[in-house]
């Protein structure tokens, strides 16, 4: 698979892949094959790697390029997330999409989302694959506080805020699912590739 390598300091490199699935495969491969890396961070279509010493970025690219067939990736786990669709932005999202709030819920629960990558907060998974009618812009002014467990959308993404934090996404509802628990193994509920369905309760 094709890969572009960009420098990220003297101990890091950013690998650019054609799409999220390719990036996810590259991240898995690098994590399994290269024990000398500190972090392997999946982005939307990139993999950031860091190391302490002695790593040649070109070797990482060669490893990814030589990995061949894309169909070797394991299927993600199916995960259901129960949602009470009572978020403050439900009406606004419906207006932006030109549909009723009930149809927003129907379309959000009707799609199978895929966890593309984790970031922003521990356990926050950027979920892609949602209904395109729900691809609404972020709020112009982010909220200073969004409660943990809030289910939200912005652009091509859905996500669940793991804990209270500032946030600029549009809030559809809330879940009791615990997205991150440092005492749990694994601590994050979702891993890249997991297939997520939201279920209205």
């Amino acid at each position: 698979m094709s890969v572009v390598v960009r420098p990220a300091g003297d101990r890091g490199a950013l690998l650019e892949l054609p799409d999220n699935a390719a990036a996810a495969r590259a991240a898995r491969l690098l994590r399994t094959e290269r024990s000398d890396l500190v972090d392997v961070v999946l982005g939307h279509t990139t993999v950031l790697v860091t190391w302490r010493e002695g790593v040649e970025p070109a070797d990482l690219a060669a490893l990814v390029q030589g990995s061949g067939a894309p169909d070797s990736s394991p299927a993600g786990r199916p995960v259901e997330i129960p949602v009470a669709y009572d978020g403050p932005d439900l009406g606004e999202v419906a207006a932006l999409a030109g549909i009723s709030p009930e149809e927003v819920v129907a379309r959000h629960t009707g799609a199978e989302h895929v966890a593309a990558f984790l970031g922003f907060q521990p356990g926050f998974a950027y979920l892609i694959g949602g209904d395109e009618l729900l691809h609404v812009p972020r709020r112009d002014v982010p909220r200073t506080q969004v409660s943990g467990g809030t289910v939200a959308i912005a652009g091509p993404y859905s996500g669940v805020y793991p804990r209270d934090s500032p946030g600029g996404w549009r809030l559809l509802g809330s879940t009791t699912a615990v997205m991150f628990d440092p005492t749990r193994e694994p601590p994050a509920l979702l891993a890249p590739g997991d297939r997520v369905r939201f279920v209205a309760v």
Binding site: G12, V38, V41, L42, L118, P122, P182, A188
Partner: protein, 273 residues
């Protein structure tokens, strides 16, 4: 077991060790001491095992009381010293932003994901110190306390420090003039800087691309440029991913110096090598 009582917390005092590297794929920031060199020196000076937790004081330090005479080391933005104390007033930072208080035995708070570090971005780890807090001292001792070396690194930073950078990964999102401005401007450190990032004030760095960058991984030392064009130098509590282009990354050897940048100081960047 020795205990420390916090009489005054100082401006912002946190527990720090080597942080949580290797968990960025879960969204967990690296955290850990902002000036790793001063932090490691402190542990050596009190004879702790590497990785023992210490206190990181910001700009104005805490006042502490110990329940028995205890060996402590002060390093970072202060005159380095080793003392046996029952009371300690750390005072204001001099020539930098952060002073480390290493205590023989290490600070014994419950580790979270393998580290005792406070993470200001995500709330992992212990709260910053508050007056009245009582901290336990652990048993993370290795050798006898080391002698203070004749020459000690990290005593204050230069008046206008120069940090070495490597361009990229997204320098091609910026105009040639922006790259030149990055390297020629004495950037002013904003007072709204913290362990997440140091906000820099200077000429806005102009982009050649107006589209949105898809979120990608970030490293400590990255110079991230938001829409305002004013760069943010990411420190240890930085988010693991972000959607603003990174124009350059500070050399890993200069990260300790970055961790000592205090508000209103000026800093320059120069191409590494």
């Amino acid at each position: 077991m020795t205990r420390i009582e916090v009489i005054r917390a100082g401006l912002l005092t946190t527990v720090q060790d080597r942080g949580r590297p290797g968990l960025a794929h879960l969204g967990v920031p690296p955290s850990g001491a902002a000036d790793p060199v001063a932090y490691e020196l402190g542990n050596r000076l009190v004879g702790n095992l590497p990785g023992a937790a210490a206190l990181e004081a910001t700009l104005d330090g805490p006042v502490l009381r110990f329940d028995r005479p205890t060996t402590v080391a002060l390093t970072g933005a202060t005159t380095p010293e080793v003392r046996t104390v029952e009371a300690l007033e750390v005072g204001r930072c001099i020539g930098g932003a952060r002073t480390y208080v290493a205590v023989r035995g290490g600070i014994d708070v419950a580790p979270v994901l393998g580290s005792r570090s406070t993470d200001l971005l995500t709330g992992l780890g212990p709260w910053p110190l508050r007056p009245g807090d009582v901290l336990q001292i652990g048993a993370a001792t290795g050798s006898e306390p080391a002698a203070l070396p004749g020459t000690v690194p990290g005593v204050g930073v230069p008046l206008e420090p120069v940090l070495r950078v490597r361009l990229g990964p997204r320098d091609d999102w910026f105009t040639a003039r922006a790259v030149e401005a990055l390297l020629s401007t004495p950037w002013r450190v904003s007072s709204s800087s913290n362990r997440v990032g140091i906000r820099l004030e200077g000429p806005p760095l102009e982009r050649v691309r107006r589209d949105e960058l898809l979120s990608e991984g970030l490293v400590t030392g990255a110079l991230q440029v938001p829409a305002s064009g004013q760069p943010i130098l990411l420190l240890q509590d930085h988010p693991t991913t972000g959607g603003y282009p990174v124009i350059a990354v500070v050399h890993s050897d200069d990260i300790p110096l970055a961790g000592q940048l205090a508000p209103s100081m000026r800093v320059r960047f120069a191409i590494d090598g």
